[in-house]
Structures are given as structure tokens and as C-alpha cells.
Amino acid sequence: MTQMTVNDRPVRFDMDPQTPLLWALRDAANLTGSKYGCGVGDCGACMVLVDGEALRSCLITLAEAEGRFITTIEGLSEDRSHPVQQAMVAEQAIQCGFCTPGIVMAAAALIQRNPDPSEADVREAVPNLCRCGVYPRLVRAIQRAGRVARRRERISAAPAPGIDMEDAARAVPALRADSAE
């Protein structure tokens, strides 16, 4: 059993310790926000925070993750209020959204250590592939997220899910869709 902390909860994985963390998260922990895009470190769709650093979870084995603090997109904020999440929505740095969780994690790690990143900083810290081509908007969004983190600006582009199911469904079409099945 490999032990680690995932999204603030102690977790033990009863899996081969050589299993890539990505598959443990997706298949065993049902944390499907981290995506498989290539499995070999090329794309960044699988990025999670490992002790605060954005790493590609397809390249880390469970054994290597032992004892560490893992944060996935699901654990970044309770109510999608993280500045990066807000700014990504506001700047429309999202299209199909498949690369988005990985990019959000890379950007969150950047903002954490440097809330006032230059364009070059952003381009270096966010190497993720986005085939839809949100790149130019990413720089703007992440710098804006930095301003929010520094309390120079406020945005609330992504409304927190309300207690009201209808309200949540309107904000997140998937919620309603899943409840209907």
C-alpha cells in the first residue's frame, strides 16, 4: 500500500507501486479531472501539484509519490474560486477544456511562488499543449489571476455552485445532465 495525501485526505493505494500516479488518481480515486493526453510527459494534461510543484502525474509512479501532498484540480478550491479558475473563465482561455485542468494546475503553482509573473515567466511555467490554441489568452489570464491573488483586482466570472440544484445546473450543464441519467 502506498500512502500519500490527496486533496488534504490521507489515501492508501492498493496498486502496483510502479503504477503512474495519473492512473491511480483517475481509476482508483475517481479523480478524473486530471486527463490522459499522451502518458509520456508531452502534453501536460495530467498535471497535479506534488508538494506544491506542478508535475506531470503520468510520469510519477505511486512509489515516488509516497508520503507527498498531492493536489488535483478537484482539490484546488472548493467552489472554483481560485484566482486562476476565475481568470481563465473571464479571459475565455478555455475552449474544448481538455487541457484546462492541467493548465490551471501549472498556473496555480506559478502564482503561488510568483504572484506577479512576467509574460516570459508565464510562458516558461506553463508548457502545456493546447490544440485549441488558447495560448495568447493564457498569458493575460494568468497575469490577471496574479493580480487577483495580490488583491489588486476582483473577478467573479465563475459563479460558485449554489445550494439550489437548478442554479447549479445552469452554471454547469453537466450537473443536470448527470442527474438526468
Partner: protein, 730 residues
């Protein structure tokens, strides 16, 4: 009830402009954004299905021939392995877009290296993958020396009669200025970030299938045909699609395989392609060879226009990269010759990749125009302006609308285009030569039949339902905006449900037709709802003012509805407008690049696109599409190229490390100008498509900028450093 519109005439009423809600066209954020930034948007492979088995495709290690024997026993004793599926119904290729029939079957007949031939199913993905690798397969393989693999060494067949008008050869000899140039472009992959995936469940009678697809309205027909199951017994679900770009237009191998396995085993089965399999088993954009002949008179007016292209595909595939699509109508010239040929070779299937045809045809044409401009001593922008036809040059049809001139002018102005005399190598900064270039953009406008249901609920909200998909394009956004505008509701009061074949058939997302087609279906439904509401008020529909949930004055919609839901299914069909007009989106690209004089590396410093594509339905999502297209233009210009092994034709660079899509650092700040217009003959919402226009010519602007920077004229795309270096003049 159903409201039907077959559009035979342009719709000049511009009804959307007469509405009062004020949401149409606005840069509203997409409603699916919060789910996407929080990782809760469920893509196909993310669905948790109980008791689900995992399937891994086994792929062929021969080029052409037949599977003689599969030794299932060789893996059935391995841990967790449940079955080896090699059923007759497994498909060898993905369906072409809109095929409406099963793709090549059975998978046991092999036509290209890497083709799926079987599916290994196990309790876990790891077990299935291991067994798939160990599976012993015997083939009856054709001799490699008998198999055509190289388009250059294969006699091509003409795709159709082509266009022949006047005498091009004579125009070339009598022209004041002419160019006769041959270009080559290499293959492209869609490389959508979400790999193809499917989860199939079978209850003994009915199939429920989560799959990552672009056109459920076609896919359900293809799947039913492939499986020999009735359409009524299939439900396809595709609510979130992680990009498509053509690769998910037709039903693909993993979906059929998951269904066959689920039906045989009586348990749900999930199949996710590996990134390598996506590259090899789906679609490539064909490589092309193109000959361009342009003949101009002393004023730079084209008198001759020749564009011939050779592309390739597998035997039996109808699709031929339509390289000449925009060349048919972009520039006037009396003497024309356009001809497309296809070489039949045994590389993986060629099919649609974003902007099939124009993505490679336009850059070659626009690069040739630049050479002509130089020869004639005319500014490249001016040369284009002088050659805009007033009707389709060979068919004579009027254009539905035409914004090329405006795009060229507005783009040039915003970019700061210098229309003075041009000469390469005029600007250098350290190791870098700097130059600018431009190109036109053009892409045919397609529109398709579509249905959508709109329910105006008694509580004053609306529900829009269709099996249309949102592949990142913004369908959730724009359908909410169209319904909101027509029914006088803020978008928060409109719920859009997509991607489920239990809902009315949409148009599917492909060929940039989604927004205009399914948007028109929503419009048609809402229009009828407005008439019914007007009837309730006792006024004419034209006089009905709906805004913020009221029907004028103090009349609240909820009171008017009085506990009743109103529901209409809108059914839109393009009619004679398709035959009476040439409809296309137009635009212009401007690029500034720097070329390293020692390494030949090209960097794009800045790029601008100006586009006219009818009504803008949502300024944010439309701009996103333009930006995405320009990003692809940069990839096609500089880095993207599929490479095939000369011995067995297999795709060599089948991953994201070796197939170079643009990365964050490749893309500068890109500027987009949307030249607003209304195109009444394009659709009743006066909108055209924008998903592809942004990459129809952009690579040509970069080629022309490279020449302006350093004097290297390139005739091959992508323009990699080695090619730039060898084209550099002394």
C-alpha cells in the same frame, strides 16, 4: 409541434437585430467554463460505469493482407484477461465525415500498417494492454514490393472533371507577368487533446454509448450500420468533447469495438485509444503536390489561373483533400484550369483535418500570389484587391456577401502594412532578419439540415435541446444567446442540453457549419414560439416585444404562460439558397516574422487576422475560433508534418513529441478583427462559419514574410530551419 423552414430565399428581415434582449453577439463567457476549470466536466473516458471492463485495440504489423489466425489462447490465461474480440463487425478505419454508413469492415482485412485488427478485453487497463502486446497473430501478408506506398511513385487518378475554361496555356504565354510554381505540403494530424474514447453498455436489447464524437446525427447511423443494430436501440452521448478538428467526424474504431465487446460479453466496456493509436488509426491530412500557374496583364489583373493538385488516400476511400475549394472562386480570371488527382496508396486513412483543402491549398496559392506581386511590381495587398471577382468566376453565381476587400483594407491598416516598394533583407536585428507578409483567407460556407427543440417553461426559463455537440467551439454559448435574444430572456434563464441522440438531430460539428445550421433550427423554433406568444397577447408577432421575461409593458411572461409550457421543434433545411449563391467567409492575414540568419529558425513576432463571416453570434467564442485557427496556421507554416516510413508506409512520428503542434512559446500576441456583416443568404440568422477560416491561408502570409525577411523563397511546407537555410540566397 414542429416549425419547419426550408430556406429558398435570403432572409433580409434580420429578426435577431430587431429583438430587444441585447445578448446576441455579446462577448459572454461560456456556460461550460466553470465545469471545465474545475475538472468536473465529464469527457467520455471520465464516466464512472460500474463493472466496466477495459479494452485495448491490437494493431496490424503488416501493410496489406489478411489476418490468418489470432491465437486467443496465447493471452486468455493471463491475469485479468476476459476475451479477445475479433468479430466481423470490427472496423478497420474511421468513417469519413457524413459517411452515414459503416466504415471498412472486417478489421481482419488489413490495408495499412497500424490498423486495428482486434480488441483485447480485461478487468483492468494494464492487463488489457499487456495482453494486447502479447497476442500472437498470424497474417497472410502481401509482398511489400507489390504495395504502392509513395504518392510520388504512384499514378494518380483524376478526382473529377475539374474546371476548364478558356485557354490557360495561351494566357500564360501572352501574359505580361506570369508564374508557374510547384509547392509541396506534408500531412497533418488533428491531434485533438482528448484521445478517442468510448464506453459501451448493452442491456440485452439497447446500447448506451458514451463516445467522443463531433456529429452524433451521422454517427448513430454509421454505428447502427456497423453493428447491424437498429438506430432506435442505440443512444449515443457526447456532451463534452476535448477537441475534434475533423478527427471525430465519423464513427471510429474504438467505439465500434467497445460496442461489439459489450454486446458479446454482457458487461460495459471502455476503450480509450493511446495517443499513438489516435495518430495512426484515425485520419491524416493528405500530403499535397500543387502546381500553380498565374498569368496577369500589365495592370496585375489575372487573365489565367491554374491550380492542379495531387493528394493521396487508401483505395476505397471517397475523400480527397479538396485542395482547390477556394481557388474555384477567390480570384477572377477568364482562363481557368483546376484539377485534383488522387494517388491510391497504403498509408493510414486520409480524411478531414481542420479546414480540409483550404488549409494547404490557400497557403500555396497565396505564396504564389506573392511571387506574382513581386514580378509585377505591385503591392501584394493591391494585387489581391485588383482581382476580386464580382461573381463566381466559372459558375457565374453571385456571392451571398463578400468582405475580402474590407478585410484586406482594415487588416492592412491595423497591422501598419507598408505598401511601399518591397525588397527582402531590409531589416535586421542582431542575428535576425525581420520581414512582413500577407495573404487572403477564404473558406466555403457550408450549411446543413438541423433540428432543435425549444421549450419555454411556465416558470419563465427556456430549455434548448439538440444532439448537436460542443467540441470547444461554443455551441452551449451561442444557442443560449439565440434563444435568449428571440425569447427575451437573459442567458442565465436558458439551459442548453447537447450531445445526446435522444434529443432532436442537430447538424453535428464539422465543416464550420454547426453554428449557422443548428443556430437556425433554434431560431426557427423560437420564431414559432414568438408567434404563439403573440397570439396569446392578441397582437402580431412583429409587434411582440420580449425582454427580461416580459412581453411588453407590465405583462410578465410567466403570467402569459399561466402554468403552461410551450414547446416547438425547429427544423431548418437549406433550400435553393445553396444553388443560387456562392457563399464563403473571407479574410486577410498579416504576419511579421524573424528569421535567424545562422540557424534558419523562424519565429512569428506578431500576426493579425481580419475576417468577415456574417453575423458574429458571440464575440468571445468567435474570436477564440479565429485565434485557434491562426495558431494552426503557424503550426502548418513552421512545424507540423507527418512523416512516413518509405519501407512499410507506417507513420513514424506518431506522438506529440515528434509531431510538433505549436506550443505556448510559439504563439505571439495575435490580433483579430471581426468585420461585422449580415449575410442573409447564408442562414436565417445571417451567420456563416468561423471554425476553419483562421487557418485558410495564414501559413502563406508567414511564407511571404520569411521571403521578405531573408530572401528565402520556400516551396515546401512546413518551413523548417533546414529548408529555410537551403533556400537562403548567398
Amino acid at each position: 409541434m414542429t416549425a419547419h423552414l426550408k430556406q429558398d430565399k435570403p432572409d433580409t428581415r434580420n429578426l435577431l437585430d430587431k429583438m430587444r434582449q441585447g445578448v446576441i453577439g455579446k462577448p459572454l463567457s461560456r456556460p461550460d467554463g466553470p465545469a471545465k476549470v474545475s475538472g468536473t466536466a465529464p469527457y467520455t473516458a471520465d464516466h464512472a460505469v460500474e463493472n466496466c471492463l477495459e479494452g485495448v485495440l491490437v494493431t496490424a504489423t503488416i501493410v496489406r493482407g489478411e489476418v490468418a489466425d489470432i491465437d486467443a489462447q496465447s493471452v486468455l490465461t493471463m491475469p485479468g484477461v476476459v476475451a479477445v474480440i475479433d468479430d466481423e463487425r470490427l472496423t478497420a478505419r474511421a468513417a469519413q465525415g457524413g459517411a452515414d454508413e459503416a466504415p471498412e469492415q472486417p478489421a481482419r482485412k488489413v490495408g495499412y500498417f497500424g490498423q486495428p485488427i482486434a480488441l483485447v478485453v480485461a478487468e483492468s487497463f494494464e492487463e488489457a494492454r499487456d495482453a494486447a502486446k502479447q497476442l500472437k497473430v498470424d497474417y497472410r501478408a502481401d509482398d511489400l514490393s507489390d504495395i504502392p506506398l509513395d504518392p510520388v511513385q504512384t499514378d494518380p487518378e483524376p478526382q473529377d472533371d475539374g474546371t476548364r475554361q478558356g485557354d490557360l496555356a495561351h494566357a500564360m504565354t501572352s501574359a505580361a507577368h506570369s508564374v508557374d510554381l510547384t509547392y509541396r505540403t506534408e500531412g497533418h494530424a488533428s491531434a485533438a487533446m482528448e484521445p478517442h474514447a468510448a464506453i459501451a453498455e448493452w442491456d440485452g436489447k439497447r446500447l448506451t454509448v458514451h463516445a467522443s464524437l463531433q456529429m452524433l446525427n451521422h454517427n448513430i447511423i454509421e454505428l447502427a450500420d456497423a453493428l447491424d443494430v437498429k438506430e432506435e436501440d442505440i443512444r449515443l452521448i457526447s456532451r463534452y468533447v476535448g477537441g475534434g478538428f475533423g478527427s471525430k467526424l465519423g464513427i471510429s474504431e474504438e467505439t465500434v469495438a467497445a460496442c461489439v465487446a459489450a454486446m458479446e460479453l454482457g458487461r460495459p466496456v471502455r476503450v480509450v485509444m493511446s495517443r499513438q493509436q489516435v495518430f495512426q488509426c484515425i485520419m491524416r491530412r493528405s500530403e499535397t503536390k500543387q502546381r500553380l500557374r498565374l498569368a496577369a496583364d500589365g495592370d496585375g489583373k489575372l487573365i489565367g489561373f491554374g491550380h492542379e493538385a495531387r493528394v493521396s488516400n487508401l483505395p476505397g476511400e471517397d475523400f480527397a483533400e479538396p485542395v482547390l475549394q477556394s481557388s474555384e472562386f477567390l480570384y477572377a480570371a477568364e482562363n481557368r484550369l483546376l484539377q485534383l488527382e488522387v494517388a491510391r496508396i497504403h498509408r493510414m486513412t486520409a480524411g478531414s483535418v481542420r479546414a480540409p483543402g483550404e488549409a494547404v491549398g490557400m497557403p500555396a496559392l497565396e505564396a504564389a500570389m506573392d511571387v506574382l506581386a513581386e514580378k509585377a511590381g505591385i503591392d501584394p495587398v493591391e494585387l489581391r484587391l485588383r482581382n476580386i471577382p464580382d461573381k463566381h468566376p466559372s459558375e457565374g453565381l453571385p456571392f451571398s456577401s463578400h468582405k475580402l476587400a474590407e478585410c484586406l483594407k482594415q487588416g492592412a491598416e491595423a497591422f501598419g502594412w507598408d505598401s511601399g516598394p518591397r525588397k527582402p533583407r531590409q531589416r535586421r536585428e542582431g542575428e535576425w532578419w525581420i520581414g512582413t507578409g500577407m495573404a487572403s483567407a477564404a473558406r466555403v460556407h457550408n450549411i446543413e439540415e438541423a433540428k432543435a427543440r425549444v421549450t419555454l417553461k411556465a416558470d419563465g426559463t427556456a430549455l434548448v435541446e439538440t444532439d448537436m455537440t460542443d467540441i470547444g467551439t461554443g455551441t452551449y454559448s451561442i444557442l443560449g444567446q439565440i434563444a435568449g435574444e428571440m425569447l427575451g430572456l437573459p442567458v442565465e434563464k436558458v439551459l442548453v442540453e447537447l450531445g445526446d441522440t435522444r434529443l432532436p438531430r442537430g447538424s453535428g460539428s464539422g465543416g464550420s457549419w454547426g453554428a449557422a445550421s443548428v443556430g437556425s433550427a433554434v431560431f426557427v423554433a423560437c420564431n414559432r414560439l414568438r408567434e404563439r406568444l403573440a397570439g396569446k397577447v392578441g397582437i402580431a408577432a412583429d409587434d411582440l416585444v420580449l425582454k427580461d421575461g416580459t412581453a411588453g409593458n407590465d405583462l410578465r411572461l410567466t403570467d402569459l404562460l399561466d402554468g403552461e409550457d410551450l414547446c416547438e421543434e425547429g427544423h431548418y433545411e437549406p433550400g435553393e439558397i445553396e444553388d443560387d449563391y456562392t457563399a464563403a467567409g473571407f479574410g486577410a492575414f498579416f504576419a511579421q516574422v524573424r528569421v535567424n540568419r545562422f540557424t534558419g529558425e523562424t519565429r512569428v513576432d506578431r500576426m493579425l487576422g481580419a475576417f468577415g463571416f456574417g453575423r458574429v453570434l458571440n464575440e468571445k467564442t468567435a474570436r477564440s475560433q479565429c485565434l485557434g485557427g491562426i495558431t494552426w496556421s503557424i503550426g502548418a507554416a513552421l512545424t507540423e508534418s507527418l512523416l512516413f516510413d518509405p519501407v512499410d508506409g507506417h507513420l513514424v512520428n506518431c506522438d506529440l513529441a515528434e509531431y510538433h503542434v505549436p506550443v505556448h512559446r510559439d504563439i505571439p500576441d495575435v490580433e483579430v478583427i471581426m468585420v461585422e456583416e449580415r449575410d442573409p443568404a447564408a442562414s436565417p440568422i445571417q451567420a456563416k462559419g468561423i471554425g476553419e477560416l483562421g487557418m485558410c491561408g495564414g501559413a502563406g502570409a508567414i511564407a511571404n514574410a520569411i521571403y521578405d525577411a531573408c530572401g528565402a523563397r520556400l516551396f515546401e511546407f512546413p518551413m523548417t530551419p533546414d529548408r529555410v537555410l537551403s533556400a537562403l540566397p548567398e
